[in-house]
């Protein structure tokens, strides 16, 4: 979709790159990252030996002394015995060329395209692999995170947040996991779809529409070529199309458990505002929150039912003083922006329905309801109800999904339901 821009790798290979000297540097860094158990900290430790190419040479020769080895992270230390054999079977330049030809870019901490927002972090990643357009990070950024075991409520809220924030020009950063992550990214991707000439937006006055919507960014634990669980593969492709997928792990890495907490620190580092939609009292999202607190990020939590285990963590955060997130407006004000004039809100100039359609709309919330219960509550027969729903669909107020109806737009100024 988005053509590769300045920062995106071109398929021409390293020879076409004007900055010829940076190519081997990142190639060797990338090759180092492919070694078993290699994480950011270990990579940094190794780089104390010299330039990436020198380190690579020494590993190939097997001459890394024991003192340095002991300074490595445990995972890396355990795996370091096999590094020499592994390194001798890899040609860093060929590897690098192959990545670039597959549209995978590599940026290291020194290079000009390295995300500026990570430069002054506590623990910036030495190396980042990416697909898609890193310019997405130039927008204001918000991390939307939460549990994989999300409830319908959490997924709905996350989807709405993703949609509204992306429409308001905010870059939604998340982890592309199941549950909340996927819902938030789906929402953000849907915002891009809407902006690309969708019929839903026909009622929006073009003069009111604010800045263009922002693409989402996913930070994943595994390789950027197959990020996230396979059920999210289609979503991952859409994120690459309209935004970017980042990872510290080289392509082809399967996400080992230790990579997720490491990934969470990048999420917290990228986003000045972190929204937790649903989380149990312990879990990956809480680790991200810890990372965010280390960095003095603003943490918002979405309140949930007090008896829902999936909201136990978020409710606890609120009681500890986190800001309450009731919707995109709260997030945007936490960012210090105003939704006015920024929001590409889908409500503008939508004609109010009348007759049956008005009474149906009055009882429709953002929670899907079955047509059966609507018919019962309103005492409307199926024919009149269906015509009213058709009218609401035509005006863009509601949508039928099989036997369910869901409101898709809210009224001006009215209370959120």
């Amino acid at each position: 979709m988005t053509p590769p821009r300045r920062l995106s790798p071109t398929p021409d290979g390293p020879d076409a790159d004007p900055d010829d000297r940076s190519v081997p540097l990142e190639a060797y860094l990338g090759a180092l990252a492919t070694l078993d158990g290699m994480g950011s900290a270990s990579l940094r430790t190794l780089l104390s030996l010299g330039s990436p190419s020198e380190v690579w040479e020494r590993i190939c020769r097997g001459s890394v002394d024991a003192r340095l080895r002991n300074a490595l992270a445990p995972v890396a230390r355990d795996a370091s015995g096999g590094w020499a054999a592994q390194a001798r079977s890899v040609d860093p330049v060929a590897l690098w060329t192959r990545w670039r030809s597959r549209g995978i870019g590599v940026v290291s901490i020194g290079s000009p395209s390295y995300p500026a927002c990570l430069l002054d972090d506590l623990d910036p990643p030495v190396l980042l692999f990416h697909r898609g357009d890193l310019d997405a990070l130039a927008h204001p950024r918000v991390a939307v995170i939460g549990t994989r075991r999300a409830t319908g409520y959490g997924r709905r809220v996350a989807h709405e947040l993703g949609l509204d924030l992306a429409s308001a020009g905010v870059c939604v950063v998340s982890g592309l996991a199941l549950g909340i992550d996927a819902a938030a990214h789906n929402g953000a991707v849907a915002a891009s779809d809407r902006a690309l000439g969708s019929t839903v937006e026909t009622h929006v006055d073009p003069s009111v529409s604010g800045p263009t919507q922002a693409g989402p960014v996913a930070v994943v634990g595994g390789g950027v070529d197959a990020p996230g669980p396979s059920t999210n593969a289609a979503l991952a492709r859409r994120v690459v199309d309209v935004g970017a997928v980042l990872s510290e792990a080289p392509p082809g890495t399967r996400p080992a458990p230790w990579r997720f907490p490491v990934r969470n620190r990048i999420l917290a580092a990228l986003a000045p505002v972190v929204v937790v939609v649903e989380s149990a009292e312990r879990g990956g999202s809480m680790l991200t929150v810890e990372q965010a607190q280390l960095r003095d990020r603003t943490v918002l939590a979405v309140p949930g039912p007090v008896d829902s285990p999936a909201s136990a963590g978020t409710n606890a955060l609120i009681s500890e003083g986190a800001l309450v997130c009731r919707g995109a407006d709260d997030v945007v004000s936490a960012l210090g922006l105003s939704l006015e004039g920024v929001a590409n809100s889908p409500v503008a100039n939508r004609p109010e329905p009348d007759g049956d359609a008005a009474s149906v709309l009055a009882v429709l919330g953002f929670t899907p309801v079955s047509i059966e219960s609507l018919s019962r509550d309103l005492d409307l027969d199926l024919g009149r109800l269906s015509v009213a729903l058709g009218r609401l669909e035509a005006l863009g107020w509601a949508e039928r999904r099989g036997p369910f109806v869901e409101r898709v737009a809210r009224s001006d100024g009215g209370p959120r339901r």
């Binding site: 994989r148 996927a182 019929t199 079955s370 059966e372 027969d381 269906s386 669909e393 999904r401």
Partner: protein, 503 residues
């Protein structure tokens, strides 16, 4: 010497005539049955021998060969026993050959010489053709459904006596007239509230549209499904015969005194094997549940618990109305024109996305992946069924229409469909659907909006038209489809997210 007796054997739901040839000659005493008998058929040898002795007939020590022609057909079951015994008696000179002429003998023998009923009497008697079927006394009523001239006997000696003219042919059992009123089908009037669900049942019955019901346990899915067969009109004569034949072939005909007139309902459990569902078996080729449901309703409760392969095996029969079961030696086409009604919980814990669901996202996805897209596509109607509020259950609303009222409407709608050359609107495709269901200007605008917004595929739009046409038929309306029926059809359709779970 050589003797011939006629009989028939069953493959799938069809009988095939079989010529039993017996040859008795001098030589080492032996008894062989040739001509592709299966195990139960080969065991005839011992049954026939014992039955002849018990009936005080002679079993000659000689070289005996029984051939079952045509030899390329597999013969299964014990239905050839009587014919083999009679052929042997003729071959050993105990009975005159011409006494067997013009008869086809269908029955199993007990060691005491009694004649026992067999499975599939109805199709076997049909296969007798010009010959007059002779069956066990217990099968007489069933045989008389298709062959009023059929004869019967209780024992082998009674049969031989009747053939010789020494004894009168016994009468079949007098027809027991079970209560002539409609059998006790549950009434739609018992359903409280659930107006949309009731309407969907009516549309499914009238248009033959397959129906998927999703909802938490206790919502009344099974109760609704049980009321669907009652809405279907009585079977026509031809359909009644077809349905009865399949039930007879499966040994599932309970009341043998008359043809099945009410559409059957089958509700196989989700642990049913593929063969039990689709039909088959290595030699016999029994009709499966989908054939037994032919002409009626196949209800798959807990659709999500059925193995995916079993469900996908239903797709082809759903389209063609027949299932062709093939094995290495035999093949049979069995009818499978059924109305599919399925019910499923939205997720393994059953609560669904609007309650305190305890399932993980992965569990839900695994559950929903069982239902392949192509299968979900076959359901024209989708319904969310959750328990109605207490006020409805306690009867504070007026009761809905009874089954009889709705069945009349359904019958009239089916009548209109027959005028279009199909038995139900679901079978209208492409050109025929265009002709039968032109769209009014407003209806066209509605469909065009949905197509443009990507909420509807072309295929989905065709299904909407068929359902809208059924709605017009039920309301007795002619002319192009109006916008209201199209909107109602849109309210009742299934969706890729039919299980109601977003993202």
């Amino acid at each position: 010497m050589l003797a011939i007796a006629h009989s028939a054997t069953l493959i799938g739901a069809r009988g095939y005539p079989v010529r039993v040839e017996a040859h008795v000659s001098d030589g080492l005493p032996s008894f062989a049955i040739v001509g592709l008998p299966d195990a139960s058929c080969r065991e005839s040898r011992d049954r026939v021998r014992a039955a002849l002795l018990s009936s005080k007939f002679v079993v000659k020590q000689a070289r005996t060969t029984v051939n079952l022609a045509p030899t390329h057909l597999r013969k299964a079951g014990a239905g050839l026993d009587v014919a083999i015994a009679l052929a042997l008696m003729v071959a050993t000179g105990q009975l005159d050959a011409e006494l067997l002429d013009g008869h086809a003998f269908i029955g199993e023998l007990g060691l005491d010489g009694s004649m026992r009923p067999v499975i599939g009497t109805l199709p076997l008697c049909e296969a007798a053709g010009d010959l007059r079927p002779v069956v066990a006394h217990a099968d007489a009523a069933e045989a008389a459904l298709v062959r009023p001239d059929a004869r019967c006997a209780r024992t082998l000696s009674e049969l031989v006596g009747a053939l010789r003219g020494d004894l009168p042919w016994p009468d079949g059992e007098p027809r027991r007239s079970h209560g002539s009123g409609p059998p006790d089908e549950p009434d739609l009037g018992d359903v409280q509230g659930q107006t949309v669900a009731r309407r969907a049942l009516e549309v499914a019955a009238a248009g033959g549209h397959h129906l998927l019901m999703v909802g938490p346990p206790g919502g009344g899915k099974t109760m609704l499904a049980e009321r669907l067969p009652g809405l279907l009109p009585d079977l026509t004569d031809q359909a009644a015969l077809d349905v009865s034949r399949v039930h007879s072939a499966a040994g599932a005909l309970e009341d043998t005194s008359r043809l099945l007139r009410r559409p059957p309902m089958r509700a196989p459990h989700h642990t049913a094997s593929m063969v039990a569902l689709v039909g088959g078996g290595s030699t016999v080729l029994r009709p499966g549940e989908i054939s037994l449901a032919s002409g009626g309703v196949l209800f798959l409760d807990e659709l999500g618990e059925f193995p995916a392969a079993h469900l996908d095996a239903l797709r082809q029969p759903l389209e063609s109305g027949v299932v062709r079961v093939a094995r290495a030696h035999v093949g049979a086409s069995l009818p499978a024109r059924f109305l599919l009604v399925a019910a499923t919980n939205p997720c393994p814990c059953g609560v669904g996305p609007f309650g305190p669901c305890r399932c993980s996202a992965a569990q839900i996805q695994r559950y929903q992946r069982r239902l392949s897209g192509p299968l979900l596509d076959r359901f024209d109607l989708g319904l969310w069924v959750d328990p109605p509020p207490a006020s409805d259950v306690l009867g504070q609303r007026s009761a809905g229409e009874s089954t009889a009222v709705v069945r009349d409407r359904v019958a009239r709608a089916r009548e209109r469909a027959r005028g279009r050359g199909v038995s139900a609107n679901r079978q209208l495709r492409g050109e025929a659907l265009e002709r039968a269901a032109p769209l009014s200007a407003e209806a066209l605008a509605v469909l065009r909006d949905h197509l443009a917004a990507g909420r509807l595929t072309m295929r989905g739009a065709q299904r909407i038209r068929a359902v809208a046409l059924t709605l017009m038929d039920l309301d007795g309306l002619d002319g192009p489809l109006d916008a209201e029926r199209v909107q109602v059809a849109l309210s009742m359709r299934t969706h890729a997210q039919a299980l109601g779970v977003a993202a």
